[in-house]
């Protein structure tokens, strides 16, 4: 379905843009991929990360998140100085989340289309914006702040609800907000530690429901119980269909938000056709999930099951949300101890970036 077309070396980052795939070389060169060749378009020193800014430009961040702005059409690189000592945390849609360290640290949200700062705060602003409210997870608290006034409108302390109990080699840890997924039918959907999913009234912060409590697998290897959901890092909100889609470890999970319960669990490890996959990272693109995975092969012998340990993260694959099947996998055989750190699905291209700055570029077969 996809085959490796090119492998690039010494790559620090990559991103999709309106003019195609942009690569960041580890010596500061910025390249545009053209017919399998990396054409230089700009140069800037000590750049560590690329972020999409708007239709025609990218932000180039150094290791302290200080930005330069790259005009993709002209190839010009210029300082991005809308605020002194600006550092950029992220850009989501029309909003740039930033922070400033001197003379005193503060955080802010900058609206790109209007060119104005919407709000500033001493506390982190990191999450989701919805109807002039900004939701963030700070320390052990989920908080809502008004974009107009900057005031905190409500907060929910999750330190007890999401607390990890002490276990072998682990101390008790207070709960934390893991991810704010978005809003579905007037429910702010938030993932916290211990694998709990909360639905809250976004206006007043009232807790409507919790999924994940007291849901355990009845039968687990070794007689131990583990949470049904566990701590899934890769959750996706499918607001259109009222579902949460989760993919991590050996499982793909669907939660029905209407019924507020697990609707489907697919276990890859016990499915030999699925090659004993153990998913590490995933991203959703339309009705597909691109993932990177380790593999755990089980060899069934006559009277015993031969266990083979997990490989490094050496596999990428595509899971089809409609058929609930892994429809394509590829094992990068030549990693030699390296592993896949980042993945990206873009149109007909897939990228797999290793910890040793190698970028594999896959293209769809026709």
């Amino acid at each position: 379905m996809y085959t490796v077309r090119h492998t690039y070396h010494n790559i620090d980052g990559h991103i999709e843009s309106n003019v195609g795939t942009i690569l960041l070389g580890d010596s500061g060169g910025v390249f545009k991929l053209m017919n399998g060749k990396a054409e230089p378009i700009a140069k800037a020193q000590k750049i560590k990360k690329l972020i999409r800014y708007d239709e025609t430009s990218l932000l180039l961040l150094d290791s302290l998140n200080k930005p330069l702005k790259l005009n993709l059409e002209q190839g010009d690189v210029e300082p991005f100085t809308i605020i002194d000592d600006l550092r950029v945390f992220d850009v989501k849609g029309d909003h740039m989340f930033f922070y400033v360290k001197s003379p005193k640290r503060y955080n802010g949200i900058f609206q790109i289309s209007t060119g104005r700062v919407l709000m500033e705060s001493e506390k982190d602003l990191r999450g989701v914006i919805y109807k002039k409210l900004c939701f963030s997870g700070i320390d052990n608290v989920l908080a809502s702040q008004s974009i107009d006034s900057g005031e905190r409108t409500w907060s929910l302390d999750v330190s007890e609800m999401g607390a990890h109990e002490a276990g072998p080699f682990k101390k008790r840890k207070p709960g934390e907000v893991k991810k704010i997924l978005g809003v579905w039918k007037d429910n702010l959907i938030v993932v916290i530690t211990k694998g709990l999913i909360l639905g809250l009234n976004p206006k007043i912060g009232e807790l409507n429901w919790v999924i994940g409590e007291n849901e355990f697998d009845p039968f687990v290897e070794g007689g131990r119980k583990i949470p049904l959901l566990g701590e899934i890092e890769n959750w996706f909100l499918d607001a259109e269909n009222g579902k949460l889609l989760g993919m991590q470890g050996r499982r793909y999970v669907e939660i029905s938000l209407e019924a507020r319960k697990v609707a489907l669990i697919k276990d890859f490890e016990n499915d030999f056709d699925q090659k004993g996959l153990f998913v590490k990272n995933a991203q959703r693109v339309n009705d597909r999930i691109l993932f990177s995975a380790m593999r755990h092969e089980l060899w069934k012998l006559t009277d015993t099951v031969k266990k083979v340990g997990y490989t490094q993260i050496d596999t990428i694959g595509i899971f089809d949300i409609n058929s609930k099947e892994v429809i394509w996998t590829n094992v990068l055989e030549d990693l030699q101890g390296d592993f896949i750190k980042e993945i990206m699905l873009s149109g007909e291209d897939i990228y797999a970036h290793t910890n040793t700055k190698k970028l594999y570029h896959f293209k769809a077969d026709h």
């Binding site: 998140n65 922070y99 506390k123 266990k307 340990g309 910890n355």
Partner: protein, 334 residues
């Protein structure tokens, strides 16, 4: 004619060889019997005789120990060890999995610095007594024989340096065996791989393991450093530093990693955490960039939010109280 003479000479030569080896065998057998007789007349004679009276084929157990540790070794009159060897010799499945009686002999031989309970204080105090060590070996063999890398662990438990010097890889593996046996709650049915990693000849840290609860895969790394050598750990550019940054770069959460340090070699976890603090501080930018997503999960020192960049990370790891920070909870002294 010539052919006949050649044949006669060959036969004479072969007989000479057979007689030579037979004399060696008989003289070796005589040596063993002499050693046995000496032990039966020695300071531990009563206990040894009682062991032989109680144990079917107790002589063979004595012989395994004698062949493993030599004719002068006090191990062969240590009753706890002899009983353990007799017990293991009776377990056909165990013997089969470690390479038979000879495998058992080599395992006893290879742990050069282990002590026996009646042998005095010579040897390494941080190692278990040899009979207790064999218990750990049995626990591994009984419970993890189908795990990837098991055969490599057994091979290493039998590895003997040609010079006769102590084999530090055996000691590193012995530390891992102890931890596994003491922590069934964590490891039983969960270990998916044993993996020889950095072959650190100075500190004997060889093994690591991979274990899973079905949701996450975690890594256990075993380090046996003493207080006077902890300063060597993860020195910039060295293999243990590369290993640490590689581990850190592959994690989604710091909970997926445990560095076990041997409590029998170093008693104060503060010393170890201080070493990590120094390593993190001296290499803040490099370590932070190894996995920004991992370190951005932690709060900044000022309490107003999460770490954003390596300056925030440096500020945190430079703090006097950093040794008590949850980021270092992956370090376990056991």
């Amino acid at each position: 004619m010539n052919l006949k003479r050649v044949t006669n000479n060959s036969l004479k030569f072969m007989w000479a060889i057979v007689l030579f080896f037979a004399s060696l065998v008989f003289s070796n057998a005589q040596c063993i019997l002499d050693d046995f007789a000496n032990d039966l007349a020695g300071s531990n004679a009563t206990e040894l005789q009682a062991f032989l009276d109680e144990t079917a084929d107790g002589f063979s157990s004595w012989k395994v120990v004698r062949n493993a540790r030599g004719s002068q070794s006090l191990f062969k009159t240590d009753i706890d060890l002899l009983k353990k060897v007799a017990e293991l010799r009776n377990d056909a499945q165990f013997l089969d999995r470690i390479g038979g009686e000879q495998g058992l002999q080599r395992i006893i031989q290879a742990n050069v610095r282990a002590r026996c309970k009646s042998c005095g204080s010579a040897g390494a105090a941080y190692l278990k007594h040899i009979d207790d060590y064999l218990d750990d070996v049995r626990h591994l063999v009984d419970n993890y024989n189908d795990v990837d890398g098991f055969a490599d662990v057994i091979t290493d438990l039998k590895r003997i340096n040609s010079s006769g010097s102590p084999n530090l890889n055996v000691e590193g593996a012995a530390f891992m065996l102890r931890i596994i046996k003491e922590n069934d709650d964590t490891f039983l049915n969960s270990i998916t791989k044993f993996e020889g990693s950095i072959d650190d000849l100075t500190n004997g840290c060889k093994y690591d393991l991979q274990f899973s609860n079905g949701q996450t895969i975690s890594f256990g790394e075993f380090k046996s450093y003493a207080e006077n050598s902890i300063g060597n750990f993860a020195a910039t550019g060295k293999a243990t530093y590369q290993q640490l940054t590689t581990y850190l770069s592959s994690l989604n959460s710091i909970d997926e990693l445990i560095y076990f340090f041997d409590a029998a070699k170093i008693s104060d976890i503060g010393i170890i955490k201080n070493r990590f603090k120094t390593v993190f501080k001296n290499n803040a930018e490099d370590i932070f960039n190894a996995n920004q997503d991992l370190f951005k999960q932690f709060d900044r020192l000022d309490g107003t939010g999460k770490i954003d960049d390596w300056e925030d990370f440096l500020e945190l790891v430079s703090d006097d109280n950093f040794v008590n920070h949850p980021m270092l909870d992956f370090i376990v002294l056991n």
